[in-house]
Structure formats: structure tokens, C-alpha cells
């Protein structure tokens, strides 16, 4: 029986081969969107001509939970050092988190009159409840979110203000970059993924008018948040989910990626933390799919795109394991030679994936102005299989949790390694001048 199965395994292998090629190519296609042509390259790097507009007022929510003072202190300091004059910093803290409350009180003494404290009284401990708790105290025309561990560039808000001078634009997604890529290979991988996401993929999604925002360095017109009623507290990927609702209502998102204006944050450095974070994202996407508001998009094409985008993390995770498995089966299981050749076709996009990763790491290094070491390239190539296994594991874990109905928030811990290790705070001043 088992032998019988083995001798016919090649049929399944041939059947999945071409879909695997298609999925992999689709993934490569949107990863490289920013470089598709000189036209897209220009479109994804262009910025409003003036970057010193100061007409709107900003309220920036910084959601905090169990954060050490060094981390929050640096984030708030960078935020208050913006060149834009009209900024309200809103620190949102849970009522059951006295340590962080103390941290914020201390910071309020350091920066008198510039920080507003919002306390969430919800027993649900997650980011969307904290964001919703902060919304009533926000006074600005524009409400933005800045993660607790994220360092903003001084000219950022001026640039966002200039971008929002176009009345058609309701939301601006700013760039985020991981800077602790030297900490571990997991962080290196995350850096590259963030880079591909902000530099390329988000532009692709925005161009197709279905945008899943990131949760950091994102700015909404206040009126839009009121229109959609804020964030959904049930959601683990509240940032992406609010993007779905805004897309359905026809509000377009502008992706503003400027290498010198990105927010700098840290990525998980260990596999454990990475898997936790990734599981949460995957779960969030699953929730969003089930909530089903993307089905209200006006055209079939946009609905198709939305379905593809929401399933994308799962597809990538599955293909990352199935393709190598298929190659092994092709080599080991008895099969006709032509079938083996067909089964080997997914190797083509897989090799391309590795080479494009290396190329992107090179471009990333050039954009952050740091030389990428040969070791980093080697690490990137060598860890590809491990990374794909991790992605698959996180996806499987998310699916398991989803089926069990376990939707608790697994918070990513912040160590501040990006501040002590990498960040020379004067770098922003140099870039700005």
C-alpha cells in the first residue's frame, strides 16, 4: 500500500509543479514592483516638491506596554524633535501596566506640556484597544501611529503634511526600516523583509487600490478614522484590517518611502520571538479573511486581488516547504524522466528568489548607507531553507491556534538593541541638514 503510494507520488508532484511556479513568480513579481521599470522606480521614490509645509496639526499615538524607559524615552525624544511644529504626542497605556504608567509620568515631567497620557481601561490587552482609547484625546487634523521602539526621522511629519496637501489622499503610509540587522540572522531576514515590504510591496498594493497598512508610521486624516469608527479591537492585525475597510470605502493610500525619512525600529532577534510575531500576523490575516469585509470591494478584479493579498503569507509559507519537498520527491521517488524534469521547474523561481534577495540586500545596504558584509550575503543565502521552514511553522501554528480559537495577543518584546547597538542619534541631524 505504502509502496503503491510512493510509486504514484510523482503524479502529484507533476500536478503541483506549475502552480508552484506560478505562486513563486507572483511573489517575486510584487516583491520587485519598485524596480519593474524606470517609470515604477520613479513613482515609488518621488516625493512632493515642498517638504516644509506646516499647515496641519498632528496627534501621534505611541501605544506602550511594559516598555523600558530607554526605549520609550528615545522614541518620544525623536518624535518631539520633529521639524514640524504642531505635534501632540499621545502615550497610550493599559490601566494594568503601572510600570509603564510611571515611565510615561517621568517623561511628561521631562517634556512638560508636550505629552498627553491616554489610559485604556479595557481588560483586553492588545494594540487596537489602546489605539481606540487614545483616539478621543487626539486633537490633531491627522492621527498617526508610532510604535514604542521606533525612531522617527526629524523631517518626517513635514513631509507627511506636504503629501496630505493633496485632498484625494486620506492615508499616508510612511517607511519603516529595521536597523538591527547585525544582531542575528533572524533580524537580517526581517530587515530584508521590511525593506521589500515598504520599498516595493506596499506600493504594489496601493497601486491596486487594496492596501494593508503596517502598524507603524502610518497617518490618517482624523475624519476617516471617525468615519470607520476606529480600530477593530477583536483584530490581531488591526493595522491591516483597517486598511481593508478604508479600501472598501474608496479611500486611497499613498505610500511615502524616502530612504532618509524612514522610521527605524528593531526586529525580533531570536527564532522564538520571530515565530510569535509571525504567528500573530498570520492569525490577523486569517481573521481579516473571515471577517470578510474585503468582499464588499466594488469590482471582481479588486476582490480577486484582495483575496490573493490576504492569502499571500500562507501561500508563501506553504510554497516555501512544498517546493523543496517536491524536489526531493523528484530525486528519490521513482518517476518517468519527463516527470522529474517538470517537477524540477519550480527550482527556477526558487533560485531567482535567492538571487533577488541578495540583490535587495545590496540595494538595502546602499540605501541605509552601510556596507553589507560578504558574511551577511552568505548568511542570507545559507539561511533560506531555515527561514522557509520557520515561515511554514509560524503559518501552521497560526492555523492551529485559529482552529482552536486562541486569539490572544502575543506581544513582541522590545530590547532596545537598535538604540544601543546601531543608532547614532546624530545621524538624523546630519541627514536633515
Amino acid at each position: 500500500m505504502l509502496l503503491d503510494l510512493l510509486t504514484h507520488l510523482w503524479i502529484a508532484n507533476v500536478a503541483i509543479s506549475l502552480p508552484m511556479v506560478a505562486f513563486s513568480l507572483a511573489n517575486l513579481y510584487w516583491s520587485t514592483y519598485a524596480w519593474h521599470s524606470p517609470a515604477t522606480h520613479e513613482r515609488t521614490t518621488s516625493s512632493p516638491r515642498r517638504s516644509d509645509v506646516h499647515q496641519l496639526t498632528f496627534s501621534i499615538i505611541v501605544p506602550l506596554r511594559e516598555e523600558p524607559i530607554e526605549v520609550v524615552g528615545a522614541t518620544i525624544a525623536k518624535l518631539l524633535a520633529q521639524t514640524h511644529p504642531h505635534i501632540q504626542a499621545v502615550c497610550s497605556v493599559g490601566y494594568d501596566d503601572p510600570d509603564t504608567l510611571a515611565v510615561v509620568r517621568r517623561l511628561m515631567e521631562l517634556h512638560p506640556g508636550r505629552i498627553t497620557l491616554a489610559v485604556s481601561h479595557s481588560d483586553v490587552r492588545n494594540k487596537p484597544t489602546q489605539l481606540n482609547a487614545a483616539l478621543p484625546v487626539c486633537t490633531g487634523d491627522v492621527v498617526g501611529i508610532l510604535d514604542a521602539e521606533s525612531l522617527s526621522a526629524p523631517g518626517l511629519l513635514s513631509q507627511i503634511d506636504a503629501t496630505l496637501q493633496d485632498p484625494e489622499i486620506g492615508v499616508v503610509q510612511g517607511g519603516v526600516m529595521i536597523v538591527n540587522h547585525r544582531s542575528s540572522w533572524v533580524a537580517l531576514r526581517s530587515s530584508l523583509e521590511y525593506y521589500a515590504n515598504h520599498r516595493s510591496k506596499m506600493h504594489f498594493a496601493a497601486a491596486h487600490r487594496f492596501m494593508l497598512m503596517g502598524g507603524n508610521t502610518v497617518f490618517f486624516r482624523r475624519s476617516l478614522l471617525d468615519e470607520v469608527g476606529g480600530w477593530d479591537p477583536e483584530m490581531l492585525a488591526e493595522d491591516a484590517e483597517i486598511g481593508v475597510r478604508l479600501s472598501v470605502l474608496g479611500h486611497d493610500v499613498r505610500v511615502a518611502y524616502q530612504p532618509h525619512l524612514v522610521s527605524r525600529e528593531e526586529a525580533p532577534t531570536t527564532i522564538r520571538r520571530w515565530v510569535k510575531q509571525r504567528t500573530r500576523w498570520n492569525l490577523g490575516f486569517m481573521q481579516t479573511i473571515r471577517k470578510g469585509q474585503w468582499r464588499q470591494l466594488p469590482t471582481a478584479g479588486r476582490r480577486r486581488f484582495a483575496r490573493w493579498l490576504l492569502w499571500q503569507p500562507s501561500i508563501v509559507a506553504v510554497t516555501g516547504v512544498i517546493i523543496p519537498l517536491g524536489l526531493v520527491v523528484a530525486l528519490v521517488a521513482p518517476s518517468p524522466l519527463w516527470a522529474t524534469m517538470v517537477a524540477f521547474l519550480p527550482a527556477v523561481p526558487t533560485v531567482m528568489l535567492v538571487v533577488i534577495d541578495v540583490t535587495m540586500l545590496y540595494l538595502y545596504g546602499r540605501e541605509i548607507g552601510e556596507k553589507v558584509r560578504l558574511l551577511d550575503y552568505l548568511l542570507l543565502v545559507v539561511t533560506t531553507p531555515a527561514y522557509q521552514l520557520m515561515s511554514a511553522y509560524a503559518a501552521a501554528r497560526a492555523a492551529f491556534k485559529y482552529l482552536r480559537g486562541d486569539l490572544r495577543w502575543e506581544k513582541t518584546e522590545h530590547t532596545g538593541s537598535h538604540i544601543v547597538d546601531v543608532i547614532d542619534l546624530t545621524v538624523y541631524d546630519r541627514v536633515a541638514s
Binding site: 517575486l28 513579481y29 520587485t32 519598485a34 524596480w35 519593474h36 521599470s37 524606470p38 517609470a39 522606480h41 520613479e42 530525486l331 524522466l337 522529474t340 524534469m341 524540477f344 521547474l345 527550482a347 527556477v348 533560485v351 531567482m352 538571487v355 533577488i356 541578495v358 540583490t359 545590496y362 540595494l363
Partner: protein, 538 residues
Amino acid sequence: MTLVVAHEPVPAPTRPSRARGIRLDGPRRRADAIIATILAAVVGVVVAFGLTGWPGFNGDEGIYTSQSWSVLHGSIEAYTYSYDHPFFGWALMAPFEWLAETVDVTRTGMAVLDARAAMVLLAVVDAALVYGVARRLGFRRVVAAFTVLAWGLSPLTVSFARQVYLDNIALPFLLGALYLALDPARRQWVYVGAGTVFALAVLSKETTLLYLPVLLYIVVQRTVGQVRIMAITSMLTCSLTVIFLYPLFALLRGEFFPGPGHVSLWTDQIWAQLFSRAGSGALWNVASARFQLVDSWLHLDWWLPIAGMTSAVLMVAVRRIRPIVVAVAISVVVVGKSSGYLPGMYIISVLPFLALCIGAVLESLPGGPGAGRVRMARRVAGLVMLATLAVAMAPEYASGIRREATVNLVSPARQAERYAIARISRNANVLVDPIFYVDLIHAGFRHQWSGAIVYYQYDLDPESLKKLPGAWRDLDYVLVTPAMRDQISGRSVALPRTAAAITHSRIVAVFGRGSQQVQIRKIVHTPSTAASPLKASS
């Protein structure tokens, strides 16, 4: 001479609305499509008309036809696959050959001629692609059309385009890759497509790999900065990975590295091509095979090669044309270098590049800035130039085309085949040129190691000695074609078993005369002729 670029083919990336561009381009594209279709039809008709008579058969045509037939019957090759070329080309040809055979398109009953009919389709596609490439290089319609005709009506092109060669299968892929690489919007994934199509050209005929620098040069020329880095890496990766599927195939069959008892890609293809194949001699040696080959090309048509190479030298000055000049330069090096084997059909892939260089010269002469009368004068000058060139080449082309449409060099072989099918017993073992192989199978002969046996494999296939250990005594007839005689007397490969079979035979029937003669010979099985010096060497 002032070289003025008349049209900038690449729209500036900042050009405002895409929708407007499409509306403007619609009728223009339709005009291009109509012109390309007409040109392709003209070239197709000229190539098709007379292909059952000109040129005479080359043994390779029979080899690829029989391999295509084998693909239709479930194996890569009729005999042991020896990695002489990748099999993609003839596998691709198989369905077309089947179609041509099924509708009996040539009404000759000869599989090789039906396969030639399939080649006409490729020439048609080539013509359209040459027009497309010319347009994307910025040629005006009239110049692009002239380029297509200068290429497609050359007696040299027509003669080679008819023959069943892998180079003919590779050419549309090569031209397609260039066409894609000249994408006006300069899109990364179109470049990846170009790389993939180029890989298919290489998998059709491995020598096409020589043109990889041309493809890279075009993309490097047309991109800058991050877009260039991304375009080059993704295109190159995709292209090379697809090409590497071929060595992978050899690896999977356990035939990549040499070993006892089997052929290998390494020794039979890579090593053989690079080092051990007998060279064709130096071009400046009048007695060398290389000189004779080039002479035979120029005998068909001197105009296109000479005008094309002169134009290539002039066009070094024009940035846009330089990749095409590089393509010509690569070919000149391959043809002109003093060592290595030069296959006759190599010229096939060079001809479009020569024509494009001629077109580029015409394009660069007239036009350009200047208003009213000046512009008009330049335009007239250009047209006069064009007309002069056309008049200069017209008689050459016309007489060549007429000869190729009317002279029949194939009929001795056809008559011999008909005779063999009518007179030879189906139980006989017949050593044949591969051009007869498929037809004899259709006529009811057994094949491979009994019945119809291809002489080349009879000598070189590792299976041969096991299957037919009795040398010429195992055979009953030999069908000797001019190609076979050339190969036995030539120095490139030794064919002692075939030579011995011919020695031990007597002529039964003869068709044609002189160098075109095809003989049907019967093996003499009497003991008196048994001892022969040639036998010992087998």
C-alpha cells in the same frame, strides 16, 4: 558623415498619461502589424516555393527529422542519445512535423521535405520579428521593411531557412529575446521573459549562447541605477537556471560525468565542442574547410554579408545599434578564427544582424532636425539611397531566388528512395543516410538495429558493436548519398564500418550524376571479398 538619430524609440518615462499613449499608438501598431504580416507572407512564400528541390539534402536534416519522429514515438532519439545537441529543438519540431506529414503538405512522401515545410513557419515568424526588432531599434517603417526583405529574400537566407537545422529553430527564440529586450517601457519582467526565451534558443542550439553578451548589452544600455541592477540579475538568473535544466537532465540520467559503459554530456558535448572536434582550418588557407564553407556562402549571396559587414563597421558610431554590431563582431570572430570546427549552418543566426546593420545605415542618413526644404531634401536623398541599394541587390537576389525556386537537387535522392522502397525486401538490412530513415520506416522496414540502419550510428553508437558485431556481413544494402561520401572522405569523423560496407558492395542502381549521385549498393556476401583491410579496423 553625420549620423543623426531620426527617431527616439524610447518614450521618456515621465510622459504623462498612459491612456493617451495607447490611443495614439493604436492605429500605428495596427499599421506595423499589417506591414509585418505582409512581409512575413512574402518571405514565407519565397522560402516555401521550391523547397522540395533546393538545396540538396544535408545528412543533418535527416538526423533531426528522425529524432523528431522518435520524440513522437516516445524517445529522445532513434539511437543512444549522445548529447550532441540539447533535444529541445527537435522535440519542439515534432508536432509541426507530424502536422506537415499528416496533411502531406509537400506531396512528396518524404519526411525530411515535410519537416522543411515546418521550417517555413519559423521563417515567417523570423521575418515578423526582424521587422519588430528593426522598429524597436528606431527604424522608420520603410527602412524596417527594407531590412526584412534584405534579410528574407537573400538567396543565402532562403537556402538555409529551408533546411531542417536546429539553428533555424533557435533563431525565432533569439530574435524574440532581442525583441523583448528592446521593450520600450524597459520592464524588468519583460527582460526576464527575454532571458527565458533566450534560454530556449540556447536549448534549441547551444551555440546561441555566444550571443548572451548582446542581450546583456542591450539591457545595460537601456537601464540605469537600481532598475538596471534588478533587471540584469533577474534576467540572467532566470536565463541561466533554465539553461541549466539541460545539464540537470544529464545528471538525472547519470550521464553528466564520464563513466564506463555510458555516454556523458561532459565528454560528448562540452569537451568535444571545445577541444577535440577536428577543426575546419584557417580562413586564409584556400584549401581549408573553413575557406570553402565561407566561399559557398558567398557563392549563394555575397551582397548581404559584404554590405552587412561594411555597415556594421560604420554603425559602431551609433550607440543604439552597437549591440547589433557586437553580434556581428562575435560572428566574425567565430567564422574568422583559425581553429575550431565551423558548422555550415552557423551563418543562419548571423544574417538578420547583417541586415539590421544595413538598415541602420539607411536609417541614420536622412531625416533628423531641419525644417521644410532641408528636411525634404534629406528625405529624398534617403529614398534615392534606398532605391540605389535596392537596384544594386535586386538582380543578385532575383537570379538567386529564381535558381532556388526551379533547380532540383533533391530528385536523385527521391528517385533512389522510391527505387529502394519498391525493390528491396522488407527483411533486408539497409545502411542508410538518415534522410531516408523515417520514410523507410513508413514503408514497412524495421528500424534501429535491423531493417533501416543509420550509417552514422552504425559507426559511432556504443550499442552498434553489440547489436551488429558482424560488420558488413550483417548488412544487405547500402544507400550512398553525396553527404555520406563527403563524410567518409572528410577528416572530421572516422567512419570505418560504413567505409567497409561500401567496399564490400557493388552498385545496383544509380540516380543523378557527378557529385549529386545517389547509389544503391548491394553487399556482396561471397567469401572471396571477405578479407579487407578496413574490416580489421572495425
